[in-house]
Amino acid sequence: MKVAEKTKFIQPGTLIGKRIPKMDAPEKASGKTRYIHDIDLPGQLYGKILRSERVHARIKHIDTAAAKALPGVHAVITAADIVDQRPIGVAKDHLPLKTDKVRSLRDEVAAVAAESEQIALAALRLIKVEYEDLPILTDPAEAIKPGATLIHPEPRQPGGQDALKPSGPVAFTGKPDNIAMRFDYCHGDVVQAEAESDAVVEDTFKLHYVTHCCMGVSGMIADFDSSGNLLMYSNTQVPFLHKREFAEYLNMDPGRIRIIQPAIGGGFGSKLDIYPFEVICVFLARAAKRPVKLVFTREEEFISSPTRQPVLLTLRSGCKRDGSLTFRTVHTLHDNGAYTSWGATTPFVMMQTFSSLYRVPNCDYHTVAVYTNNPYAGSFRGYGNLQATFAVEAHMDKLAEAIGMDTLEFRLKNAQEQGEVSGQGMEFDSCGFKECLTTAAERSDFRRKFAENVKNRNAPGAIKRGVGIASMLHVGGGAKIYPSDGCGTILKLDDFGQVTLITGASEIGQGSETVLSQLVCEELGLPMSALTVVNNDTAITPWDVGVHASRTTFIAGNSALGAARLAKAKVLAAAARKFECPAEELDLRGGYVIKAASGEALIDLPRLMRNLHFSDKAELVMTTFYYEPPSSYQDKRYKGNVSAAYAWASQVVEVEVDTETGIVKMTKITAAHDVGRVLNRLGIEGQIEGGIVMGQGYALTESLIIENGVMRNPSFRDYKLVTAPEIPEIDISFIETMDGEGPQGAKGVGEAPAICVAAATANAIYNATGVRICGLPFTPERVYRALHGKGEKLYLAPEKAA
């Protein structure tokens, strides 16, 4: 006789807001994760690139005979060997292998595939290149002047001196000047507004070169199969965009290209564009008819990776005596470098901060991005927002001081609120800005310390204390910069109640696979152990725009949630048939189908799944969902609600300034972030701490030193990342505004924490010393010079907006 099973009741529980360890952490911590370095294919060759020895020169002759003759070398290629080369990049102004000229020191001149790295390096040394030097242009203010040497002179006539191979189709024909891109935005009337202002301030700010310093350097493997299909192991952040673009550059059917992403050792925006090394690696594999692996050295990573966009920026701002902002006028000069990557397009984000972080009724914004022979800039966590926020928040302090208003009060008076639409058309459906301001200020005792430090500026002693506040606005619900900002999900339940989440969203170390799994498990009432994530193969995963714009939790999260909801409906419908009750009375919890009202377990999920699969009306629970956010593409005047949600944050930085050495020590950072809702508390804390430390490096220590086009410090010895003992105490508060569109109310925060650290630090140094420093980073020497009246005089010429 069968004993009746005891009735089981499942208690409600939630994963949301819990501290969930990252799913990839055990593998990474134990050294088992396989990065691109760890992958080797049978028959694989090693690729190496010969880069220019000159900053700007005509290539007169390349002799590869000796390199080709070296035993173990399978391919040596130059532009002359690749007749179908096409220009790559955001403006299609960049040939992977240079034909006529080199325009910066990183330029690719030739490449080798050989049986070992040593042989490939030996072969590079045997290649002889004859150059004829051209005038070097490294100052964007010079490059913009009429009559300046042209970096990309037009027209590129077939047969002309600057001709590309006639057979290679060219989208880019050169430029009559050195201007790569322009951006002009305006709302209101700044002239009228200035006339009505009681206080007006103007400063020029200089934002420097930094680079991502991913622990995993760039690299890829290219492999053609016997049918000519191309498989790439790639660290890209945008596999689906790459697939299409590679097809275009290689003149291939996109259907024959497959991209697999091994575990990626950091991205931060650096892997958002296609770079010459990737195309060259494919050319080498094609020429050698063998798989080719090309991985950068650390020095190469410094020299040949994109940088954050360096900017010279003049800001003019005004307000009335009552503290209301009246206008902002911005002119920026972007050093584009020799070629155009995403750095040139940072104005898309910069203008949002000028126009919309605070309520400003009149705003004029102008950027000119200018070609030089310097390294070129790409996208980097924050995407121009660190630069813009640095200027805006300096002026918030200066204007408050000018009208004698408390600096926090001044910010609160102008802060955006829920329900507002900014001058640029951004719609703030959820907005915790004021709460961020007051929380960060209260938790750090900002007001008291601020007043005290001002009083103590002239007290004896070399060490001065300072406290500064800054805030930021950034997209938190995707960013509609392509016609689609969507992401697809395929969800599959198997006979054992295990779920496979197949998502287009890539994991680059930010914790996306964990947070997406969490959302699915929450919906299906399953433990995290029930989830397997597949997210790294374009032949399997559905479309996604890519990892950028802090979008993955929001967009891929909503997509995963959508697929999970469909799966849940299917499972509950099956259970409703089995138990002959309405599906609405059922729910999923703890791995069981339960009665929603009582929590009584009816059947465990694996058994129900087998019932479904093994019946004569067999059914699979496999769902798909595609999420496209309700945001809009900006119009030609850069107006529109570009994101489905916006993230806000305020950070208070406390410093000690040693006036006898210029050393700035960060002692504490108090951060308050409007994150919509905390999904994985452990994950979001890690992301915010990491972002703050990245911001600290931008503020204090990191700087790529470029002199006459030459990088002087391409190593971790002289490029100073922040080390562990320098990291200050970090106090994080989460403001949960429960965004109506966000998955479980969450918004994206990937970039947010890095954005306002430097701005708040500048304000803290001013609070400590009474000296405003408008250039970064705050290295001891820069600070010491400023304190002793020997600071840099920054100036942006009037022709900036010509």
Binding site: E660, I705, R712, N713, R717, D718, T723, E726, P780
Partner: protein, 289 residues
Amino acid sequence: MTEIEQYVAPSSLEQAAEYLQRSGEVTILAGGTDLMPQSQGGRLKIKRTLMNIQHIPELKGIAIDGGAIRIGALATITEIMQSELIKKHLPILIEACDHFASDQIRNAATLGGNVCNASPAGDMLVPLLVLDAEVELASKPDGGLTRRRLPLSEFFVGPGKTRRAPSELLAGLRIGLPGAHHYARFFKFGTRPALDIATISIGIAGTLNNGALSSARVAFGAVAPVPMRAPRTEQALEARRLDAATIEAVAGVARDEVTPIDDVRASAWYRKELIHNITKRMLDHVAQA
């Protein structure tokens, strides 16, 4: 890459000296922490013979020897940091070790290597200078092993250049046991707590009596082609009571005595300012000691 024709690993000082005597074309490998990055970076070409001296017992150890402390050329930074003898008699060396690169590098890097690399910014060199250290050089010119001693202050002739002859091997360093009331402090200025090349470094030593330093020794790093003793600064300091005016005057002499250059780490002007301000700060500490 270099075409190394021969790798040798002698097991005695005599053997090593013999190799050096036979051919001047020898690159000496001890900890390798300077040699490897320099050769990889193309700044140093490894010669035909690479000689690993790690197996030579006479180059090891830290011991008292005839009124002096002898530190073998192969003593690692970690060994020096952990040595009870050094802690007791030469704590200034511990201060320098504590700012020396990272744990991993300290475990491999040797004192002899730091001295022979002769970087103007070498972390151990400034404290050794103010301790009046001597180098002990071994060679085998005519069949017999001979040793000569040279004050460290005369050893350095330029960046990476010393008075060590190609046929000589640095066997160790000798430092006289400090007497009563000996005072010695080291300060390294870098942009971060560790893992940094000094922007400047300062060593100050002497016998401290009634707020004045006699037999004063001052040395500076990273402000001249070699780690330098500063005789004019020493003279200004010698046996003077350290009141505010004296301290200011000495700091001024120090600023004028150094001859730094501009490089990626700092400008010459800023280095001079640091020499002035930190000398002043260190002398304030002496005055309060």
